[in-house]
């Protein structure tokens, strides 16, 4: 039986790979010298070490304010995520409700696993490419922030929502944009320079989270199961 105790290490200086390195060596204790007295001493040390451990846990049992638990469903109202928390991707809008995204696909290219799929279209009024549908796959998204990092228009940001549990993975495919049409900057410019702003606005079409391209089935996306004939819900 060793004489225990995990005291401080021994400081030393050694040469490793031609560098002088300051090291601190683990304490080993010493083996028990023979004799009945040292045996009793080592038993006493052993029992004391057990009691020390029990003191620590007792400190938690009887101590005040030792419970650190946050009660999640009960504290939902007060629970706040950090401001940079990567919860859910969303498109930013200006004060009038127009989005900043113009469908430039920087994010789609930056995305490491094609979680963002952008469909664009050509606006008949100003003949510019614009966002038709911004599909975001929450089921594959890795929250790596690459899309937001590369976005030249600050059109994307993180929302704080973390409650995403669903019964069917097809529900995790989102269409983020609420409308298809020109970005806020173009509309503003059209209003300012009076370049057919009303006609431009008239090209706006509503898009939902579940728009045309991605129905609940989402069959076209790789890896997403199609809505089959069999009832998958009962197992």
């Amino acid at each position: 039986m060793n004489v225990f105790g995990s005291g401080p290490g021994i400081e030393r200086r050694v040469n490793v790979a031609n560098n002088d390195v300051d090291v601190i060596v683990a304490p080993r204790g010493s083996s028990r010298p023979p004799g009945i007295i040292s045996w009793f001493r080592s038993v006493a040390i052993a029992i004391r070490s057990l009691l020390t451990g029990m003191r620590v846990t007792a400190g938690y049992l009887f101590g005040r304010d030792k419970v650190v638990t946050q009660q999640y469903p009960e504290n939902r109202e007060t629970l706040e995520m950090n401001e940079r928390f990567r919860g859910r991707l969303k498109l930013t809008h200006d004060d009038n409700g127009y989005m900043n995204c113009n469908g430039c696909k920087f994010c789609e290219i930056a995305c490491p696993n094609q979680s963002i799929i952008i469909k664009d279209r050509r606006n008949p009024v100003n003949d510019k490419s614009e966002l038709d549908q911004f599909i975001w796959r929450l089921d594959t998204c890795t929250f790596c922030n690459a899309c937001i990092q590369v976005c030249p228009h600050d059109a994307l940001e993180w929302g704080q929502d973390f409650e995403g549990a669903v019964y069917d993975r097809r529900l995790l495919v989102y269409t983020l944009n609420s409308y298809a049409g020109p970005q806020a900057r173009l509309i503003e410019r059209a209003i300012k320079k009076d370049e057919q702003p009303e006609e431009l606005k008239a090209t706006i079409e509503p898009r939902s989270r579940y728009g045309t391209g991605v129905p609940l089935a989402g069959d076209e996306l790789p890896g997403v199961p199609a809505l089959g004939g069999e009832d998958k819900e009962s197992t």
């Binding site: 029990m54 846990t57 419970v67």
Partner: protein, 363 residues
């Protein structure tokens, strides 16, 4: 056989007390059994809940909170779920033994429970060889574990069962030596008389250091017999994925689970009875006012308090210490506890022969 003893005793008592013939005896028996099972499951559920709440506090968290106020009915939910859970018998398992194993475990516990003296009146069976009976039926419990490990046809289970067997046989020695110390002091094998002999002072006070040592060794050995951490080698989660009960599910697993917790209660109750005076209040020789105040508190509460303290210590230890290794466990018993236990019995004999009790009250 022990089951037969209990049943016969129960029947005798019933017949003697009611004098209503065979049917009355049967009815009394049925009531007693239902009451025992009911109280046992209630006790088990309460103990599991207490364990979980206490563990949570040790670990600076809250524990079950959402079923009932502060999770009061958590274990009720667990029990119902376990009752209605599917019961799987693995294809390769020995079906008969697989069925018997948890039942043995639970029956052993039930048998041990009936002899626990809660108070002079609340004492289901007062056998004249109560201490021996306890030693016998607690040996019965390991049979369930061994059978469970064997019948599962799983190497991990078998390893766990073998560990349990080795552990149990070893620690049974120390346990019995401690029982002998208590019996020597009390001069009787009947638990009610053991308690009565402590009216003047609990043996843990009156037996010098001998009973204190016996008490501590009894607690250690019973913890080891119960497979509770730090001696939970037969079911060591991180080593054996559950040990002997790896293959048991649903109700059968619940039997093992329940048996473990009731056993903890029984062992604690025995320790309280033998060393801490059972339902006897705390008495100090000469302090008459103090003694009378103490005597106001009813016996069952004294008993429950003592058991609670011992159970708490058991939980405290459980949630603090790492687990021992197999060979270390054996070393602890054979090189450490057993010599101490034997020396303890000899010293106890000397003390009793010379009548050198500590603060001899009254006589």
């Amino acid at each position: 056989m022990s089951a037969a003893i209990v049943l016969l005793t129960l029947a005798e008592r019933a017949a003697a007390s009611l004098e209503v013939g065979i049917w009355g005896t049967a009815a009394w028996l049925a009531v007693a059994i239902v009451a025992a099972i009911g109280s046992m499951s209630l006790l088990g559920m309460a103990l599991v809940l207490i364990e979980r709440k206490v563990a949570a506090r040790f670990q600076s968290r809250l524990g079950p909170m959402r079923v009932g106020p502060h999770g009061l009915f958590q274990t009720v939910a667990d029990s119902i779920k376990l009752l209605i859970k599917e019961d799987i018998i693995p294809e390769q398992a020995d079906r008969i033994l697989f069925f018997l194993a948890p039942t043995f475990s639970l029956i052993a516990t039930l048998l041990a429970l009936v002899i626990v003296p809660v108070s002079p009146t609340l004492h289901l069976v007062d056998l004249n060889i109560g201490v021996v009976f306890f030693a016998a039926v607690s040996g019965f419990g390991v049979l369930g574990i061994l059978l469970g490990g064997w019948s599962s046809n799983n190497k991990w289970s078998l390893l766990g069962a073998m560990r349990a067997g080795a552990q149990f046989i070893s620690y049974e020695l120390s346990l019995t030596l401690c029982l002998i110390v208590a019996v020597l002091f009390a001069g009787s094998l009947q638990l009610s008389e053991v308690v009565a002999s402590q009216a003047d002072g609990w043996w843990i006070w009156r037996g010098h250091v001998v009973t204190i040592v016996a008490f501590v060794v009894f607690i250690i050995a019973s913890t080891a017999e119960l497979n509770r951490p730090p001696f939970d080698l037969p079911e060591a989660e991180s080593e054996l994925t559950g040990g002997f009960h790896t293959e048991f599910s649903g109700l059968r697993f619940a039997f093992f689970f329940l048996a473990e917790f009731i056993n903890m209660f029984v062992a604690s109750a025995l320790a309280a009875t033998l060393f801490l005076g059972g339902w006897m209040p705390f008495q100090v020789g000469g302090w008459d006012t103090f003694n009378s105040v103490m005597a106001i508190i009813p016996g069952p509460i004294w008993f429950a308090g003592k058991v609670a303290v011992i159970i708490f210590i058991s939980m405290w230890v459980r949630w603090t210490f790492p687990r021992l290794r197999v060979d270390q466990l054996m070393r602890l018993e054979w090189k450490f506890l057993l010599p101490i236990g034997i020396a303890n019995v000899l010293i106890a004999a000397v003390i009793i022969l010379s009548g050198l009790y500590f603060f001899p009250v009254g006589n």
